[in-house]
């Protein structure tokens, strides 16, 4: 959509002007997080003092395993409750709001372990994503004429989206018969059925083959071009470099660095905590091992 492309570009361009430091204010934040804490016993899994997410941009959240990225996602999206702190979405306080309410407001997430509904068809998975369905109330559901028209409109939209994600020919199959990568695609397509304003993707590339990765990347860019804000957790640094406009780095529950992909990769704290000194030569997740080697020196 060319009309909206400049908007996304403006949002992205604005990011380049910012100082790359943790908690930096964004010109047009869709999500604003303040001193969020999530504790498991004595462990502070999440301890984020301030974070803003720019509207219309793609923000990556990276960090070593156990840094609290998924917990942070769970807390923000309502699947876990915070022990302290507050956060706003579109300037509305949504602290500890139920996930189903957030989804209806346009804040939609996917899961690290895909949650495709196995014994439902691919099309039914998609249709479940459509909002405001009359037929989902128990009494109107008995009378098909009350929801038949809505259902056919939703089906049309679902088939369009499935077509975009190369799943149209699978629409009648059980979702449980899809491969792992196809389930990732289905979950992303299903999230788009809600017309989200902010999509939070938890490791969308995990277990996906390189060819499919490329098309997933294109889909994520397409989502941004349509004006949707994207935030994702990912370990694949190629993808982070490729697609993200802004990178947030977490370690031990806190945000240790923020910036454009280029600036973050240069940040010594990020190299120490996550990337490792040789991250340009070998892209692995074992960056921590490399940094400990340097410690005695």
């Amino acid at each position: 959509m060319p009309a909206e492309a400049p908007l996304a570009n403006a949002a992205v361009a604005a990011l380049a002007e910012l100082t790359p430091e943790p908690g930096v204010a964004k010109p047009d934040p869709i999500l604003r997080v303040d001193s969020v804490v999530r504790q498991f016993g004595g462990l502070r899994a999440v301890d984020v003092s301030h974070l803003e997410v720019q509207r219309g941009a793609i923000t990556a959240l990276i960090g070593p395993n156990g840094a609290g990225k998924s917990t942070f996602f769970n807390v923000i999206s309502g699947f876990d409750t915070s022990d302290d702190g507050s956060w706003t979405y579109n300037d509305e306080a949504i602290t500890n709001r139920a996930p189903n309410k957030l989804a209806r407001q346009g804040l939609v997430r996917t899961f690290q372990l895909t949650k495709s509904l196995s014994r439902l068809s691919v099309l039914d998975n998609m249709l479940l994503g459509a909002g405001g369905q009359t037929g989902e109330s128990i009494f109107p559901s008995i009378f098909k004429f009350t929801w038949a028209k809505q259902e056919s409109q939703n089906t049309k939209r679902a088939m369009e989206l499935l077509g975009r994600f190369n799943l149209a020919q699978k629409s009648a199959d059980f979702a449980g018969s899809l491969s792992g990568g196809q389930r990732k695609l289905l979950e992303m397509a299903r999230a788009l059925m809600l017309n989200p304003q902010l999509v939070m993707l938890d490791e969308p590339m995990a277990g996906v083959n390189p060819a499919l990765k490329q098309s997933l990347l294109d889909h994520i860019r397409d989502i941004r071009e349509e004006g949707t804000t994207v935030m994702f957790v990912e370990h694949d640094m190629d993808m982070v470099r490729d697609v993200s406009d802004w990178v947030v780095v977490m370690a031990q529950g806190a945000i240790i660095s923020e910036g454009t992909p280029g600036s973050v990769m240069q940040d010594q704290r990020v190299i120490d905590a996550y990337l490792g000194a040789h991250h340009d030569s070998a892209l692995t997740e074992s960056g921590q091992g490399l940094t400990t080697e340097e410690d005695p020196a």
Binding site: A98, V108, I138, I142, W147, E151, R190, M193, L194
Partner: protein, 327 residues
């Protein structure tokens, strides 16, 4: 051995009053467990509530049967809310524990409460208003091919199966709708459905209430047909028989409970009659008449085990669907 007699006895039971009672309750359980994935191990509590509601209203209070039916529905909904509100936010197994405990609590409560008839239960002409509606001619027996029913039983069987047809149709209508899609989605992965903006808690409550009301109708039917309500008729075995029928027929299949209940009772009576005839005619010599009762359950149990090994999806189920990774 008179196999004609054995078959007609078994067929009569397969579509008879007892099978109808179980079938109605199993339709409710199919909605809860088969479609919604709710582990309700206390379905018998809802049956008991229905039976006691009409029994007490008619016999103890002396009021109308139809008022009793209304109470049965209301109390069943109340019980579903009571059990569901605290547990349905938690993991599925909590509902299982609470429901089985509640069904036993209710049974013991009924046994010790005087106004519920104590351990004697409630006995009386509970179904008079229902039997007065019987339009059948005043014949002694009604012969349907190999089957034979008394006038009262014929009326019960006719209304019972009509009622089952209506409830089956209702189940089918609900499950083809977006509401049914959401209920099935909750069975597969509740968090996924919540992440798509759906209020799953409300639907689970609705499912528990709907299945509970169906079971209460089974209780009403039981009280009306027997003319009494006995607390020890509502033991946990009742619920597990329902599960057996459901799995036998095929869970999450609209006609599963019908087929399951009919086949279960057919098998139980068939095995019993064959053993009885065998012992009476000295064909089977190694067991006595008194041992037939337990042995038929052993044989039917072995039969069910074989079914689970060779056809785990039940009679109407889809094996491919069952073999999908159920995460």
């Amino acid at each position: 051995m008179d196999f004609g007699f054995i078959l007609s006895q078994s067929l009569t039971q397969a579509i008879g009053v007892t099978a109808i009672i179980y079938c109605i309750a199993a339709i409710g359980l199919n909605i809860q467990f088969g479609y919604g994935g709710l582990l309700n191990f206390g379905q018998v509590a809802f049956v008991a509530v229905g039976a006691y509601a009409v029994g007490v209203t008619v016999v103890e209070v002396g009021s109308s049967l139809w008022l009793g039916v209304a109470f049965a529905v209301i109390i069943a909904i109340g019980l579903a809310l009571l059990l569901g509100i605290p547990t349905l936010r938690l993991r599925a197994d909590y509902l299982a524990i609470v429901t089985i405990a509640a069904s036993e609590i209710l049974r013991f409560l009924a046994k010790s409460a005087d106004f519920l008839g104590g351990s004697q239960g409630v006995t009386g002409s509970i179904g008079t208003e229902f039997y007065d509606l019987n339009p059948l001619p005043e014949w002694d027996r009604f012969e349907l091919g190999p089957l034979s029913f008394s006038r009262v039983d014929m009326w019960l069987v006719m209304t019972g199966w009509t009622f089952i047809a209506i409830m089956t149709l209702l189940t089918w209508l609900l499950m083809r709708s977006p509401w049914g899609r959401m209920v099935k989605g909750i069975r597969e992965d509740e968090d996924a459905v919540r992440s798509l903006g759906k209020n799953t808690y409300l639907r689970k409550l609705q499912v528990l209430m709907l299945g509970g009301v169906f079971a209460a109708f089974a209780g009403v039917f039981s009280a009306v047909s027997k003319g009494s309500v006995q607390p020890d008729g509502f033991v946990p075995d009742f619920t597990f028989f329902l599960y057996v029928m459901l799995i036998l027929g095929g869970t999450a299949r609209v006609a599963g409970p019908l087929l399951g209940a009919a086949i279960f009772w057919f098998l139980l009576v068939f095995v019993e009659q064959v053993l009885k005839e065998g012992v009476a005619n000295d064909v089977i010599t190694f067991i006595s008449v008194t041992q037939i009762g337990p042995i038929r359950f052993i044989l039917v149990g072995i039969g069910l085990m074989l079914l689970m090994i060779f056809r785990p999806q039940g009679i109407l189920g889809d094996r491919k669907e069952l073999m999908l990774d159920a995460r």
